[in-house]
Amino acid sequence: MRKISLLVAGAAVAALSLAGPAQAQRRDLVIGMALEPPHLDPTAGAAAAIDEITYQNVFEGLTRIDGEGQIVPGLAERWDVSEDGRTYTFHLRKGVKFHDGTGFDSADVKFAFDRARGADSVNAQKGYFTPIESIETPDPATVVIRLSKVDGQFLSNMGSGDAVIVAPESAGGNRQAPVGTGPFRFSRWTPGDRIELVRNPEFRDASTPKLDKVTFRFIADPAAQMNALRGGDIDAFPLFGAYESVPLFQADSQFAVDEGSTEGETILSFNHRRKPLDDLRVRRAISHALDRREIIEGAQFGYGVPIGSFFPPHREGYVDLTGVYPHDVAKAKALLAEAGHASGLRLTLKLPPPPYARRGGEIVAAQLAKVGIQVEIIPMEWAQWLEQVFRGNDFDLTIVSHVEPLDIGIFDRDPYYLGYRNPQFAAVMAELNGTVDPAGRKALYERAQRILTEDAAAGFLFQLPKIGIRKAGVAGLWKNAPVPANDVTAAFWTR
């Protein structure tokens, strides 16, 4: 009997707390992230987690990349480009203040960019700033940037986390206590657990942001991510890791699932420096051996759009080339025999830690075994992968997702871990870099994709998805991830 009365009492308490005193809308949000950032200065590190906290929330750049990947005004409310495409005049917003109360003007822009391109710069994207020839500040609200050559990606690069504007007064401390101009101020960092941002009451637009506080909590383990969501400790997990449990959330009306895309082309990279991967027939044989559908099902629980070249399917200029090398074991074997490997091949496959690589690698190895290629799988940590594969070029095959936006140009880089050389492709890239006109760029992107596919420059697998889980009442978060970010400027509770 006592048990029953306890139950009744419990139910009553639950009912009371549900009915609540006139349910006010929540003005705080708890966001889950798998990885904790190493520090919080996006201009001094490559970790996506830095941008996932600070981009647009704490720091702003001259331009801004919105949730759809479009370039929109940021700290510059407009800009003019000269006839020759080499001079950009940015007209800055007036009355903007950094979180420490110091004013923002053209001198800050010059400081930030000089710091990024200086001799002791530790900017992970220093290359974004190398085309800059001069920076002039005719008045506090105008910045004139002269480039040494036309750079078709300049405006988009200036909207990246690596190009946000920092102030000379605070830049040195941004790693631990970032000071920007954004709608949220850094409040507190409990290492290993959470980072808290609070509303910037002096933000130029009084209606933004809609939240008073945002907390980022770090939960690496996929099972723990799921528990944290179901237990109500987290309101949203924008880059959810436990794909296998997505159906559970889809079936639960308390949650909403967003299936979007990242800029990550996931590929089976070939080391073009090494035999037999320098042989087009072998690369085509491998491409025929791959069954993308099986890889996406097995490694990704079905999440991810197949790609046939190195371009995101959601971007303008995409060409669907997934049909060029259909999954065909007989054809793959024939090509291998033609290349003189009828008796089979042995290759190594070095895999970095992400599940897409580890799980994907197992399936790729099994598929290659069917056409007579014996693959030795070598799992490694990121630090090891960067040193051995990326810098040391000591690998045959690897699986990795290239997450930079519009990065097809990596196939033209030298030196680069892929070791791919193709004068025809290089010519297209050179033309692309000098082209600003959108229609011209689109046509060049299409040609570039076709060349890479024709050449089987890599085993093109799938576009890395962005699976976000949120409580049904949370709105205003990004569905896609055109740049690494959890922009909560527009986030709010609908109920």
Partner: protein
């Protein structure tokens, strides 16, 4: 006793020094450049060189080793590459989670296991004994992270009584304690299983001793024999295991559980520092772990000597 203590102290210091060499060398040969990891795939050679300079990685290895030893001897620890804060500070924050967690798990497991072990020995061969052995078999075979996940499903998912993880800080003692309950229980389950077994067999062994028979023969009651003669003698092996298990708990056991419950403890700090090649943190934390394990062992030896006078006198220790 003094000579015994001195001997053990010297041995402890020598072990620490040897450990520092090993730790340093292992991290030297460990592949992975911290600067490259921090700047990623788009980094240019000049940026990498600049960062390596800022991190002090361009200094020769012996110099870096000497500087590290000097720092530690003076009681200072370096500054973390990633958090940019003194390692001592970081560790202190993490200890505030891991030590209470390990202690809670230990107290809980001893509180459960001692009575169970004694009960099983006293009811040797009976239903009670069988029950305890089943419990212990389960506890040893079920991995802690799985127990943890089940507990979360039940107590935070279904019932909503306790948080699924995270740590709110000791500023709110009630919530902090609540956050540690499930992780402590998951750890304690395994620990209790081991202690119960060890206690049971130690008590059984002691029960077979001649003096127990003598005590019984002179007319002492069962209970009195158990409490006055058996338990005190059976405690020595239990204390040894206790010491070993505490080292295990704090160095290894919490690592997995801290991940399951995303607690910001020592295990997570170390794990993250290794994957991010935050070499200063890795070095310092490993040395602290070694130090604590050595201290616990020393304490166990001393406790041992207190319980059983033989090691003090002879060649033991």
């Amino acid at each position: 006793m003094i000579a015994f203590l001195a001997r053990r102290l010297v041995a402890t210091l020598a072990t620490l020094l040897a450990a520092s060499v090993v730790v340093f060398l292992v991290l030297e040969v460990l592949p992975g450049d911290p600067a490259l990891l921090m700047l990623g795939t788009e980094a240019r050679p000049d940026t990498l060189a600049a960062l390596r300079g800022q991190m002090g990685l361009d200094q020769p290895a012996p110099l870096r080793y000497a500087a590290w030893l000097g720092d530690m001897a003076s009681g200072q620890f370096g500054v973390s590459y990633t958090y940019g804060r003194p390692v001592g500070e970081l560790v202190a924050e993490r200890l505030a989670v891991t030590v209470p967690l390990a202690l809670m798990a230990l107290v809980l497991s001893v509180a459960v296991a001692l009575p169970l072990g004694i009960l099983a020995a006293a009811r040797h061969g009976g239903a009670g004994d069988w029950g305890v052995m089943v419990f212990s078999q389960l506890g040893i075979s079920v991995p802690g992270f799985w127990t943890g996940m089940l507990l979360v499903l039940l107590f935070s998912g279904q019932l909503g009584w306790l948080p699924s993880g995270g740590f709110p800080g000791w500023g709110n003692p009630g919530a902090a304690f609540a956050a540690l309950v499930l992780p402590a229980v998951s750890l304690a389950f395994y620990e209790a299983a081991i202690f119960a077994r060890v206690t049971r067999s130690a008590v059984l062994d002691t029960l077979r001793e001649d003096y127990v028979r003598t005590a019984r023969a002179k007319g002492l009651g069962w209970r009195a024999v158990l409490w006055r003669h058996v338990l005190r003698n059976a405690l020595a092996p239990v204390v040894t295991i206790l010491g070993l298990q505490f080292s295990f708990l704090w160095a290894a056991g919490t690592l997995v559980i801290e991940n399951v419950f995303y607690l910001p403890g020592m295990g997570r700090l170390l794990y993250q520092a290794i994957t991010q090649r935050d070499l200063i943190v890795v070095r310092d934390v490993v040395m602290m772990l070694v130090g604590v394990v050595l201290l616990v062992n020393l304490a166990v030896d001393l406790l041992y000597a207190a319980i059983d006078p033989r090691p003090r006198a002879g060649t033991g220790g």
